[in-house]
């Protein structure tokens, strides 16, 4: 077993890896949401001046990643590795979006958990001594995702109340060895979990078991409890998924208090990013960008200021394709846990 591994699924980085900058670029709908004022850039035109949704997503990635590097006070050539992914087949948004950067690239697919996966691997590369700086991120586009996974946009169908709304945008962070910045200290990598959910319009239910598996293993591996964290944020479970996690965790012997209870610490990026009643997003936000932009815009500044001392960030993904769905397969879920300590974090809590 590796010297940094603790317990079954968790690694503790030897010196921690700093998140030295975070950038988020979103589209109009996200800009109109409760987190609107926190995003770096809000692009009114979801086509972003491009010819297709796919190229638009690539442009979201390109401009936002450039912004992340610029905010870190670095140049693209200072980045040793680029790790990112999206939802489109063969991750074309990421490859076409980053082609001009000309830096060594690992393309990732973790569905909507990609931000957790890219942060995990980017941090491991640095902690392992393989890189000084890594640029990691994730993106999605509502229109591109609808086109690929669901129905044409102009089709007059109804969305069920359990469905969620894919976030359009890109979130990216630059990781480095040193500096007074929020610090990634532990990583709990999730397993593929399948509890037999087949309803592609109820992703929260499909992914909740994966989040629970990461949470339980994380607490067992580290010996902590949910109350040792100021914030626990899952990726895009939405209302239904979060409630299911609370219920499942109770069965496992852990009490999770949702943030809508006073003093609660458990939230979900999909719940934070949209006002589900005013914006008609039903269960909440989803897509790789959901957790990515919410982390970069909303949580990162709070980690920077020390308002959040210790956070467990768990992007969640539903590992389905149109082929697997049509062939009647259930929807397995995956989740990636990353512990981030804020500046002046709660040592020894």
């Amino acid at each position: 077993m590796g010297a940094k591994k603790i317990g079954k699924q968790t690694v503790r980085l030897s010196e921690g890896v700093r998140i030295i900058s975070a950038a988020s670029t979103v589209s109009k709908k996200e800009g109109e949401g409760p987190l609107g004022k926190y995003f770096d850039k809000v692009i009114e035109d979801s086509m972003f001046g491009e010819k297709s949704w796919e190229l638009a997503e690539s442009r979201f990635i390109r401009e936002n990643m450039e912004l992340a590097v610029q905010k870190a006070g670095l140049k693209m050539k200072d980045i040793d590795y680029l790790l990112c992914g999206d939802l489109l087949n063969q991750c074309i948004a990421s490859t076409f979006g980053t082609i001009d950067f000309q830096i060594p690239f690992f393309g990732l697919y973790g569905a909507c958990s990609t931000m957790g996966e890219s942060m995990s691997l980017g941090a491991m590369l640095i902690d392992g001594g393989f890189a000084n700086h890594t640029l990691v991120g994730a993106s999605s586009h509502f229109c591109g995702a609808e086109k690929q996974f669901r129905a044409p946009l102009s089709l007059g169908n109804q969305r069920p109340p359990t469905s969620s709304w894919t976030v359009t945008g890109d979130g990216a962070v630059v990781l480095a060895k040193k500096g007074n910045f929020p610090c990634i200290t532990e990583i709990t990598t999730g397993k593929v979990m399948d509890m037999g959910i087949t309803d592609a319009n109820n992703m929260g239910a499909a992914m909740a078991p994966a989040a629970v598996d990461v949470l339980v293993n994380h607490f067992q591996d580290t010996g902590r409890t949910p109350q040792d964290y100021d914030v626990i944020a899952t990726g895009d479970l939405g209302d239904i998924g979060r409630n299911l996690v609370v219920e499942l965790m109770k069965k496992e012997g852990y009490t999770m208090y949702p943030t809508n209870d006073k003093g609660g610490q458990f939230t979900d990026c999909g719940i934070e990013i949209f006002d589900k009643n005013a914006q008609d997003t039903h269960c909440g936000g989803s897509g790789c960008a959901c957790s990515a932009v919410t982390f970069c815009a909303f949580f990162y500044p709070k980690l920077m200021s020390g308002e959040i001392g210790r956070m467990l960030f768990i992007p969640t993904g539903a590992l389905l394709s149109t082929t697997s769905s049509q062939q009647g397969q259930s929807i397995p879920g995956i989740a990636h846990g990353v512990v981030i300590e804020g500046c002046g974090g709660k040592e020894g809590k």
Binding site: E54, P152, L153, L155, N157, Q158, E247
Partner: protein, 148 residues
């Protein structure tokens, strides 16, 4: 986490309890009235066309008019907004069929006229045509042997 068959069944029950159902009653009422409105409008058109055309021509003209209206509304992105509320009311009539052909035609335009618009135009309406034709053949056969 327990992933046994029993745990999966329990989870399934838990999910069913936690997930709200679609508001079926309101959906039905909205569909009833919007679908009825479209059909009523079709009847008005039929009466109008009947004044100057034969019965067959008038029926054809009603279909053409409704399809044209639905296609234009789809093109302007309005049909999806109506369909969101009306559901089956705007899907079942011939206008829904037009919407299901025009929307992929627009969506896949970027993949070119042949592999995009041409090939994808019937991804939604195709099954309706295939099984509609099959059913009519079946009914025709039954009629041939039994009905005459």
């Amino acid at each position: 986490m327990d992933t046994s068959k029993r745990a999966k069944q329990e989870y399934d029950q838990m999910v069913k309890k936690a997930s709200p159902n679609s508001p079926i009653f309101m959906d039905c009422i909205k569909a009833f009235f919007s679908g009825g409105l479209i059909c009523g409008f079709g009847q008005l058109l039929l009466d109008y066309f009947n004044e100057s055309y034969t019965e067959d021509e008038a029926a054809l003209l009603v279909s053409i008019t409704l399809i044209a209206i639905a296609a234009v509304l789809t093109g302007f992105g309005l049909y999806e907004k109506i369909g969101k509320h009306c559901g089956a009311g705007t899907i079942i009539p011939i206008t829904g069929f037009a919407n299901s052909v025009v929307s992929p035609a627009i969506e896949f335009k970027k993949e070119g006229l042949i592999f995009g618009t041409g090939a994808k135009m019937f991804i939604l309406a195709g099954p309706v045509i295939v099984y509609g034709t099959l059913t009519s053949m079946l009914v025709g056969l039954i009629y041939y042997f039994v009905g005459r």
